[in-house]
């Protein structure tokens, strides 16, 4: 791990696309096992931040650290290997191969990592079952509903047992109830596995599944704190919700 106990960290990174700056000195750190929501309005730079943290885009300046290694100093080949073996990805859509079955899609990253075919398909069946998709392994993903396809995508991302799962608007194309089911499974399984999650979303109800949130605005990261003015409850005349007998400190609940 890098300094400060974080598993993954961006230090003052900038990234532009042509003349358009997307990140202007963004810093964020994610602890091992943490589920972090990255929020922000459209065009704020939150997806670019995710791509930089995952080593997909190298930043123009600044540093990305992952597990004691400076990611932006690694060769493209090394970064590709890291993405294949250590990081999992779930995007809004378009990540599954529609001509292949659900089981093929989940087994694919394992086969790329040279897992034996039989073991890969056994693992795929087990992951599909954990996502409530028993008996659907033989279906082509193009024939699945949006929610089912997204659960296959989660299974595929988790099948390699990644250290970090990067999820970019994972429920963005689903209705709210289906999206909830996907988030519920994603959170349960990553907690069971101890996977660190970086969850990009503009949706507060999705962000509420995370343990902490940061907001990206104009290419910079703001860490939110809800600690306002700390006051001690002054007892029954105080009027605060704890006046009935609690001794809770207001603003630090």
């Amino acid at each position: 791990m890098s300094a400060g106990g974080s598993l993954i960290e961006a230090r003052d990174i900038t990234k532009s696309f042509g003349q358009t700056p997307a990140l202007r000195g963004a810093s964020v750190s994610v602890a091992a096992g943490e589920i972090l929501a990255v929020m922000g309005p459209s065009g704020s730079g939150k997806s670019t931040l995710l791509h930089c943290l995952a080593g997909i885009f190298p930043p123009d300046s600044g540093e990305i650290w992952f597990d004691g290694q400076q990611l932006d100093k690694l060769s493209e080949a090394k970064r590709t290997e890291l993405r294949r073996t250590t990081f999992g990805f779930v995007f809004q859509f378009g990540q599954l191969v529609p001509e292949l079955t659900a089981a093929d899609n989940v087994a694919l990253p394992l086969l790329l990592n040279r897992v034996h075919r039989k073991a890969a398909y056994q693992a795929a069946a087990s992951w599909l079952a954990r996502l409530g998709l028993e008996g659907k392994g033989g279906r082509r993903t193009g024939e699945l509903s949006g929610g089912e396809a997204q659960r296959v995508a989660v299974a595929r991302a988790l099948a390699i047992k990644p250290k970090v799962l990067f999820a970019d608007e994972p429920t963005g194309s689903l209705d709210s109830l289906t999206g909830e089911k996907v988030m519920d499974l994603l959170v349960s399984l990553t907690r069971e596995e101890g996977t660190t999650v970086v969850l990009v979303t503009h949706d507060a109800r999705v962000a509420a599944y995370a343990e902490r949130e940061v907001v990206v605005r104009d290419g910079k990261v703001t860490t939110l704190s809800d600690v306002g003015v700390t006051r001690l409850c002054s007892g029954s005349a105080c009027g605060c919700p704890c006046a009935a007998g609690g001794k809770r400190r207001r603003g630090s609940r």
């Binding site: 309005p41 507060a204 509420a208 995370a210 809800d226 600690v227 306002g228 003015v229 006051r231 603003g251």
Partner: protein, 175 residues
């Protein structure tokens, strides 16, 4: 909506008479529910009694009370603390948030920071409700959903207001 703290906030901007305070309050915060004169003067008297404001000498003129009130350091501290303290997330708190944002802009205080603090408090409550929903029975789930949808609506208001702060500041300063 705290009338005493809102009036104190208006007094922080400049010392004022009860009549002018009422007019200003009604313009910004009344929204079809004007503040009765009696309440304005009773509130000012209480604020003076509690050391949050001081009343000047009565000035000649019409009307029941021609005293000019000024905020004290204790009053300023109360306004500061109130603005910085996020409200308990609950449905229908828009009027409190609205008053805080407008006053903060009037007083040149960091409205965006107050909104961020409130956003964080809302998200924390949403996390608690989401956990409750994931672990509880269906009835808890329904109740949690009710809360979550209302909090989400507040958050969307907070986001939109954040995006409009500079426009709002211009409006408040031009008035």
């Amino acid at each position: 909506m705290s009338v005493p703290l809102t009036l104190l906030g208006l007094l922080e901007r400049e010392p004022s008479h009860g009549y002018d305070l009422k007019r200003e309050y009604d313009t910004y915060f009344g929204r079809g529910k004007p503040l009765p004169y009696g309440q304005v003067y009773a509130t000012l008297a209480r604020l003076a009694r509690d050391g949050k404001a001081v009343a000047g000498e009565a000035e000649p003129g019409d009307g029941p009370d021609r005293k000019r009130y000024a905020i004290t350091p204790a009053g300023t501290a109360d306004v500061e603390a109130w603005l910085a303290e996020p409200a308990e997330p609950e449905p229908h708190l828009q009027t409190v948030l609205f008053a805080k944002v407008v006053l903060a802009l009037m007083l040149g205080r960091p409205a965006e920071r107050y909104l961020d603090t409130q956003r964080a408090r809302h998200l924390r409550r949403m996390r608690e409700l989401t956990e409750l929903k994931r672990s509880g029975p269906l009835v808890d789930m329904l109740l949690a959903d009710y809360g979550l949808f209302h909090l989400e609506a507040d958050l969307r208001w907070i986001d939109t207001t954040s995006a409009r702060l500079s426009e709002l500041a211009e409006m408040v300063h031009a008035a």
